[in-house]
């Protein structure tokens, strides 16, 4: 694997499959009474969060701690956008503390990329969500969840599996990372969204797009619902929340269109009643809670592999500059 994980595009198929198989091994830990491995003893992982995200932060924290790493949580209130401490000064501080890996969440797209390539820090950088760009560990945990459910029936891979990602693609880092990673893993991705919430240039992405959820659902093996943020409702991207829910929400009627084996996913936090109804979120098809469990295992695998926990089957390409 490369030294940093900034984009799902950084992962070759071998890299991604190594993360998934490593995560599978590590996930079994969760069922043991003692959930801890000594793999990263003496290493320091910093969770650098410029944006509130309790869910992602505790997931990384749990992952690092189960590998016996020392964890420092750094909630940097206000980026340099709001004239707080600059990204650079924060990075220099972490460097001085001897961080081995920096897990960074930032509201500015590309901030982890800057951190990794500006020469401010020597540590590995893991993108834990940057602006409207990417969220690669979310994509890995989503792929891991799909792989566990759908893989055994198709020879242990996601080749040819159809994944529908539904909602605000334009502002979604989850959609971007998933589109890239699922393609790498051989799945066929369809992005379903109102035209206002698809990025310009979507034609060149390795995905299908559709404005019609009902047409896509019967063919899907997994359906991933994206959160619709409240501020989009005032941005004129769609007329009303009601109309959005009618056209793009997943409710009981639409769930009935799915194949028997199809799973329903959501990266959280959900807006129940908006993009997903309660009966769907709480149904047997829903793997939303399992995604959280898998998140810890996948992040353990990422930290373990990035910090040199293991060498096998790791491609060692040069860093992108």
């Amino acid at each position: 694997m490369k030294r940093h994980l900034l984009s799902a595009a950084d992962l070759s198929r071998d890299d991604a499959e190594l993360v998934l198989t490593t995560a599978e091994e590590l996930r079994s830990l969760a069922d043991r009474p003692i959930k801890k491995l000594p793999a990263l003893r003496g290493r320091t992982v910093v969770n650098l969060f410029f944006e509130d995200s309790t869910r992602t932060r505790i997931s990384f924290e749990a992952a690092a701690k189960r590998l016996s790493a020392d964890v420092i949580n750094f909630a940097a209130k206000g980026s340099s956008l709001s004239k707080g401490e600059s990204l650079k000064d924060t990075a220099l501080t972490l460097e001085a503390m001897g961080a081995d890996a920096v897990v960074v969440r930032h509201s500015a797209s590309g901030a982890p990329h800057r951190l990794a390539h500006s020469g401010w820090v020597r540590s590995s950088v893991v993108n834990a969500g940057d602006g409207t760009h990417e969220h690669p560990t979310q994509a890995l945990l989503d792929a891991f969840t799909m792989w566990r459910h759908l893989g055994p029936k198709s020879g242990g891979s996601l080749d040819g599996r159809r994944v529908a990602i539904v909602g605000d693609v334009l502002h979604s880092r989850v959609a971007r990372s998933n589109a890239l990673l699922l393609r790498t893993l051989g799945a066929e991705v369809t992005l379903v969204s109102p035209p206002t919430l698809l990025p310009v240039g979507i034609e060149s992405w390795p995905v299908e797009t559709s404005y019609d959820l009902d047409a896509v659902l019967p063919k899907a093996d997994a359906v991933m619902m994206l959160r619709v943020q409240r501020e989009r409702m005032h941005g004129g991207f769609f007329p009303t929340a009601r109309e959005y829910s009618r056209r793009y929400g997943l409710d009981g009627r639409r769930m009935a269109l799915l194949q028997d084996h199809t799973i329903v996913m959501h990266p959280g936090p959900m807006v129940r009643g908006m993009e997903i109804t309660a009966d769907v979120a709480d149904s047997d098809r829903s793997v939303i809670v399992e995604q959280v469990t898998n998140g810890v295992a996948v992040r353990m695998a990422v930290l373990y592999l990035l910090l040199g926990g293991s060498q096998p089957a790791v491609s060692t390409e040069g860093l992108p500059e």
Binding site: S79, S80, L81, S86, L87, K88, H106, S107, A108, S109, G110, A111, H113, R114, H117, S118, D130, G131, T132, H133, E134, L170, R173, R176, P199, V200, G201, I202, E203, S204, W205
Partner: protein
């Protein structure tokens, strides 16, 4: 005052000849000139061009003297071969009164590296709400003729119409920063496939083109002249071409960075490449070069925009828009226009000296190199090659996107009314 005997200069790329510069003017042109007591400048292999005129420079003074001052910015200008620059109005305080424009004009005179022509703001405080006292600025010692809210668009159609009409009284021109504000809220880079992939908010071409089209129609309607700042898209070139075909009095500028660089550079997330309007596609750059070659785009203007280090040494979204340009402009025009055969040196003189001076109504600049004309002359070595070093810039700022890039050409000497501001590539 020193008399200079320039030997074997190639005026606009023509046959080598000698130039005698004395008393602020070109005294003599011819073969084998000699003059007692004159300082001889060997210009063998050098092209002599009329002193360059920039219609679009940010000197940052007053207000942001940490980024640039009139003194430092005009030093950079002289080193780039400029003898006149137009200082944009978005200072702090804004150049929207006779007092501020006279201050900038006076600072330029005191610095003495090149002539400084302040641009007046169109609206009070660049707020886009009511006209600034354009007449007072025109009548001031600074004799303002170019008015611009550059950095912001005069987006209100009525206000733009009034400004276009009003400046006719003193032969002024409104230089529009064409950017539809609602279409570009939070915009970070050219909107296209790449912005979608990088997750950076897009700045669509239509936001520029829609304003240019509207302004051309307004200028035609009220019979005014319009100047369009930093044209960046192929569509804008088409619209300007159409307006000119109609016979409307519309002029347009292109910036060196839009001729050379493209939006692909944003993939580095290094905000050294963040500029407004943004770097566009290779097809846009090609259309700009073609437009500049055929005269649709009248001039090259630098949009020299210094920023302190911390405003670029950060994440993309937090960074300031803009890049340095004065010291590299001529090299980039050589690289993108002259070397590929799109423009000869006479064409360069037209796009970088004669026409910008005419648009800005600057009488003593943009004159041909002829006997009796003011001796505003640049000697340029097109055969030199240099690697740009940010630390070598005369600007107080370091935000050049060309650092480490090898560019052709070197300004050897600049004469401002017969006085050398640059000799042997260094400030005289």
């Amino acid at each position: 005052m020193t008399t200079y005997l320039v030997k074997n200069a190639s005026i606009l790329g023509g046959d080598p000849t000698d130039l005698l510069i004395a008393d602020g003017v070109v005294k003599e042109i011819g073969g084998d000139l000699s003059a007692d007591g004159a300082e001889t400048v060997d210009a063998t292999g050098l092209v002599a061009l009329p002193g360059l005129v920039d219609l679009h420079t940010h000197l940052r003074e007053p207000g942001r003297e940490d980024a640039e001052t009139v003194e430092s910015g005009t030093r950079a200008a002289a080193l780039g071969g400029f003898t006149a620059v137009h200082a944009m109005a978005n200072t702090e305080p804004v150049a929207d009164t006779a007092g501020v424009v006279e201050q900038v004009w006076r600072l330029g005179r005191e610095a003495g590296h090149c002539d400084v022509y302040p641009v007046g703001a169109v609206t009070v405080g660049l707020a886009g709400e009511r006209l600034a006292e354009l007449g007072a600025m025109a009548d001031s010692a600074a004799r303002v003729r170019v008015f611009s809210d550059d950095g912001r668009c005069v987006s209100d159609a009525v206000l733009m119409r009034r400004a276009l009409e009003y400046v006719k009284a003193f032969d002024g021109v409104v230089a529009q920063h064409a950017q539809e504000p609602r279409l570009t809220e939070g915009a970070q880079m050219n909107e296209g496939e790449l912005s979608g992939r990088l997750g950076l908010a897009g700045w669509p071409a239509v936001a520029e083109e829609a304003i240019i089209a509207r302004d051309c129609l307004l200028a035609a309607h009220v019979g005014s002249r319009l100047h369009v700042c930093h044209v960046s898209t192929a569509g804008s070139v088409e619209i300007v071409r159409w307006a000119k075909a109609k016979g409307w009095d519309v002029t347009a500028e292109a910036c060196p960075h839009h001729l050379l660089l493209t939006d692909e550079l944003a993939a580095t997330y290094d905000p050294i490449y963040k500029v407004n309007p943004p770097l566009r596609t290779a097809a846009d750059a090609e259309a700009l070069r073609a437009g500049l070659a055929d005269g649709t785009i009248d001039i090259v203007a630098t949009d020299h925009a210094p920023h302190p280090h911390e405003d670029k040494d950060c994440e993309w979204a937090a960074a300031a828009f803009g890049m340095l340009g004065l010291e590299t402009a001529l090299s980039i025009v050589q690289e993108t226009m002259v070397d590929p055969g799109l423009l000869d040196w006479a064409g360069v003189a037209d796009r970088m000296s004669y026409t910008p001076a005419r648009i800005g109504r600057v009488a003593d600049h943009g004159r041909p190199i002829d006997v009796g004309e003011p001796a505003n002359v640049v000697l340029y070595d097109p055969s030199a090659r240099r690697t740009v070093e940010a630390s070598e810039s005369a600007s107080l700022s370091r935000n050049t996107p060309y650092a480490g890039m090898e560019l052709p050409g070197r300004v050897v000497a600049t004469f401002l009314r017969g006085r050398a501001t640059v000799l042997d590539g260094k400030l005289a």
